[in-house]
C-alpha cells in the first residue's frame, strides 16, 4: 500500500505534527469557534492517514504510540466519566461543571467537564477511524 513518493514522504513528515497540533487547537477552541471534538478528531485521523499512505502501517502505529483500540476505550471512558461529577452535586447526570482557575502566566483558564467530554469524543473519533483504517491496511499488507 505505501506509495514511495519522496515528496509525499517528506511533506508528511512536516505536515503530521502541524496537523496534529492544529487538531488539538480545533478541539480546544471548539466551544467558542468552529471546531470541537468531532472535527479535531477527524483532522488528526486524516493526518495519520496521510502518514500511513506515505510511509507504512508500522510507522503510522509508531507515530500514534498507542493502539487505536485503546484510544477508543479510554475516549469512551473519559466521556462517560465526565458526566459523573454532576451526580455529586445532586444534579442530573451530565450537567456541566465548570472550574475557573487563575493561573499567573496564562490568565484565566476554564476547566470543565464539557471539555473532558469533548476530549473523549476526540479520542473516540481518532480511535475508531484509525482502528478501521489500520486494520484494513494491515490486511492489505498481509496480502502482498
Amino acid at each position: 500500500m505505501p506509495m514511495y513518493s519522496l515528496i509525499l514522504r517528506s511533506a508528511s513528515h512536516f505536515l503530521l505534527p502541524l496537523l496534529l497540533l492544529f487538531s488539538i487547537f480545533l478541539l480546544l477552541r471548539g466551544h467558542n469557534e468552529p471546531g470541537g471534538g468531532f472535527i479535531g478528531g477527524l483532522v488528526a485521523s486524516a493526518a495519520i492517514a496521510l502518514y500511513l499512505f506515505s510511509m507504512d502501517v508500522k510507522a503510522a502505529r509508531q507515530v500514534l504510540h498507542i493502539d487505536p483500540r485503546e484510544l477508543l476505550g479510554w475516549g469512551l471512558t473519559l466521556a462517560v466519566l465526565s458526566g459523573v461529577p454532576a451526580v455529586f452535586w445532586h444534579q442530573p447526570f451530565f450537567t456541566a461543571q465548570w472550574l475557573t482557575l487563575e493561573l499567573p502566566a496564562l490568565g484565566e483558564v476554564k476547566l470543565s467537564t464539557v471539555l473532558l467530554f469533548d476530549i473523549g469524543v476526540y479520542m473516540v473519533v481518532i480511535g475508531s477511524v484509525l482502528t478501521v483504517l489500520l486494520a484494513l491496511a494491515d490486511a492489505d499488507d498481509a496480502r502482498h
Partner: protein, 770 residues
Amino acid sequence: MLFAVLSGFLLATVAPWLHRLFGRHSGWALGALPLGLFMYFGSFLPEIQQNGPLVIDYPWVPGLEIRLSFLVDGLSLLFAMLISGIGFFIISYAGRYLESHRDLARFYVLILAFMASMLGLVLSNNLIALFVFWELTSITSYLLIGFNHEDEDARKAALQGLFVTVGGGLALLAGLVMLGMVAGSYELSEILTQGEWLQAHPWYLPIVLLIVLGAFTKSAQVPFHFWLPNAMAAPTPVSAYLHSATMVKAGVYLLARCYPGLGGTQTWLFLLGVFGAITMLTGIVMAVRSTGIKRVLAYSTVMALGTMTMLIGLGTEKAILAAMVFLLAHALYKAALFLLAGVLDHGAGCKDFLQTGGLRRAMPISTLIAALAALSLAGVLPLFGFIAKELLFEATLQAPRWAWLFAFAAWSAAILVVAVAAIVGIRPWYGAPVQTPIPAHEAPPAMLLGPAVLALLGVFFGLFPWVIAYGLLEPAASSVYGQPISLPLALWHGFNLPLLMSVLSLVLGLLVYRYWDQLRAQTALLDQWVRFGPERGYEAAMQAMVRVAHWQTALLQNGYLRYYLMATLLSTVVLLLAALALNASAVQFYFDLSGVMLHEYVILAVLLAATVMAVTTRSRLGAVASLGAVGFGVALIYVLFSAPDVGITQILVETLTVILLVLVLFRLPRFLGLTSTALRVRDALIALTVGGTITLLMLSTISTHYFDSISSYFIENSQPEGYGRNIVNVILVDFRALDTLGEIFVLALAAVGVYAMIKLRADRLKKGES
C-alpha cells in the same frame, strides 16, 4: 393475602431443592403449603359471613389502573379452598405415584406454579390481573399436560389444549377490556354492582359473547370440548387436579363471577343454558361410549361442566345454589375417582375398563372408596351427590323458560351418569377376576389417603349438609346471585317429582350398564360421526394456518433486498402523495428562486452532474471520484449557508471515505451489467418517483412551521448557561451530551466490528498457513 397467592410460585422455585432434601417424602413436605393455604382461606369464612366481601388491594401499575387487588367472598373462597385442599391431596399423592419418575421435581415446580396461578385467578379482583392469572393457568397446564414430553400424543394434546384455551383467552381479554371500559373500572367489586347499566349498554352483547367464549374454551363446552379428553395424556395426578377440580372450572368460575353484572338476560339464558345442556348431553354420551378409564372420567367431567354452565345460565336462586352444590360434590367425587384411576394404573397396570374385573380381593380399600365415590356420582340417597342431583332437577323444573326441555335433558343425562357410575364403581372390582398387565396389589397409603378422604367427605356432607351449607355454600351462592340466598340444604326433600326422576334415572341407568357392551357395539356408527366433529375443524384450522404462513412467508420474505425496498418505498410514496393530494387545497408550494446567487447555481449544477456521474459510470474509480465530488459539493453548501462546523466535518469525512473506499473497493470485482435495460428503466422510474415526491414534500413543507423550534432555547442559553459561543458545539457536548455519548458509542461499535471482521480472518489465515 398477596403472599398467600404468590407463595405457590415462591415454593415452586425452590421445589427441586426441597425434593432432593426430602427424597421420597417430598410429596408430604411440599403438600404442607396447600394444606396451610387451605386453613388460611378457611379462616376468612367467619369474617366474610359477618362483614360481607373483603377487598384487599395492592397497587401494581397504577397508571394503567392495574391493581393487584383480591376479592374475598364466598365464591372465591369456595374455589380457593377447593384448589388448596385438593392440591394437598394431589401433591402428596403424586409424591408416591410418580416416585420413580425422573422428572418428579419438575412436576412439583409446575403443579405448585399452576396452583398459585389458579388461586390468583379465583381471588383476583382486577380484570387484568385475573386475565394474567388466567393465561398463567393455560401455560402451566400446557406444561403439565405435556409433562411426558417424549410422548408425541402428550405433546400434541398439550398443544391442542394450549391453542384452544389461549385462543379463548384472547377473546376473553377483549371482552374484559371492553367490560372495563364500559363500566369505567377494572375492579370486579365495582363492576358487578352496575348490572343494569351494563345490560342496557350497546356493547353488552359483544362483551358477553367474548367473555363466554373465553369461559367456554377453558371449561371445554361444546364445540370446544375435544381438548379435555385428549388432555388425559397427562399424568393422572394432573388430570385429577386440572381436569376435575380446578382448571376446567375456571370457566365456570368466571361465568359465576360475572353473573351479577352480566347474567339474567335472555342472551345469557340462551347462551349458557343451551350450550351447557348440549355439552352435558354430549359429554355423557361420549363417556358411555368410551372404555378408557380416564377417558370415561374426562367425558363425564365435560358433562359436569356443561351442567354447571347450564345452571348458571338458568340463573334462578335455586339454580345458582344447585351449581355451587354440584361444583363441590363433583370436585369431591371426581378427584377421588381420578386418583383411583391412577391407583388402578399403578397397582394393576390397567388403563382401560375392558382390561379390568374382579379386583376387589386384591384392592379392597380401593373398591370401597370407588363405591362411595361412584354412589355420590350416581346421586344415591345418603350421599352428597344426591343433594346435588335433587337440586339440579328442581332447578331445571323451575327454569324461567323451556323448563321441561331442560329438565328432560338433565334427567336423560342423569340416566347415563348412573351408567357411568356403575362402570366406574362396579366394573373393575366385581365379576370374574381378569388377568391384569401387572399383578394387582393395593396402593400405598399415600395414594389412598386422598381418594379416601374425598370420598368420605361426600358421605359426610350428604348426611350433614348443614355443616357445609351455612359456612361455605350459601355465601358462595349469595355472592354469585348478588343477594343473600338462604335455602336450607337437606338430604330428604320429601316425595316429589325430583325424587321420582331420581329413582327412575337410577333404574334406567343400571339397565344401561347391564347392556353396556351391546350398547357400545350398536352405537359404533357414532364414532364415524365424531370423526367429523369439532376436532376435525381444529385440525383443519391448524393446517390452514400453517399453509397461510408458508404462503405469506414466501411472498413477503423472498430474500431479495430490492423487492423489500421497492415495497417500502412505493408504499411510502403512495401514502405521501395521497396525503398531499387529499390536502391539495391547504398545501402551498414555496417556490422562490429570486434570492439564489449565481455561484450557488454553479455548485448545485456541479453537485447534480457529479451525482449523475456517480450513478452512470462504469469505472469504479470514476464512481469513487464523483462520490467525492458530491460530498465536497454538499460541504460547500453547508459552508455557504452558515454551517462552518458541519462543512468542515463533511470535508474531512469525505476525505476519509475516499481513502476507505480506495482501500476496500478495489479488491472487489468490476461493475457488471447484471440487469436488463427494462429493469433499469423500471428502477429508474421508481427512483425518480421517490425523488420527485421528496422534492414536492420539501417544497410544500419548507414554508410551514407548525410549532416553534426548540433551537431558540439553545441559541439563547448557549453562552449564559453553556459558557460557549459555538452553539453547535455547545449542543453537542453540553445540552445533548447524552445523545452524543450514544453516538460515539455507535462509532466505537462500528470500528470494533470492522476490526473484528478483518483481524479474526487474518488470524485464521495465519493459522491456516502455519
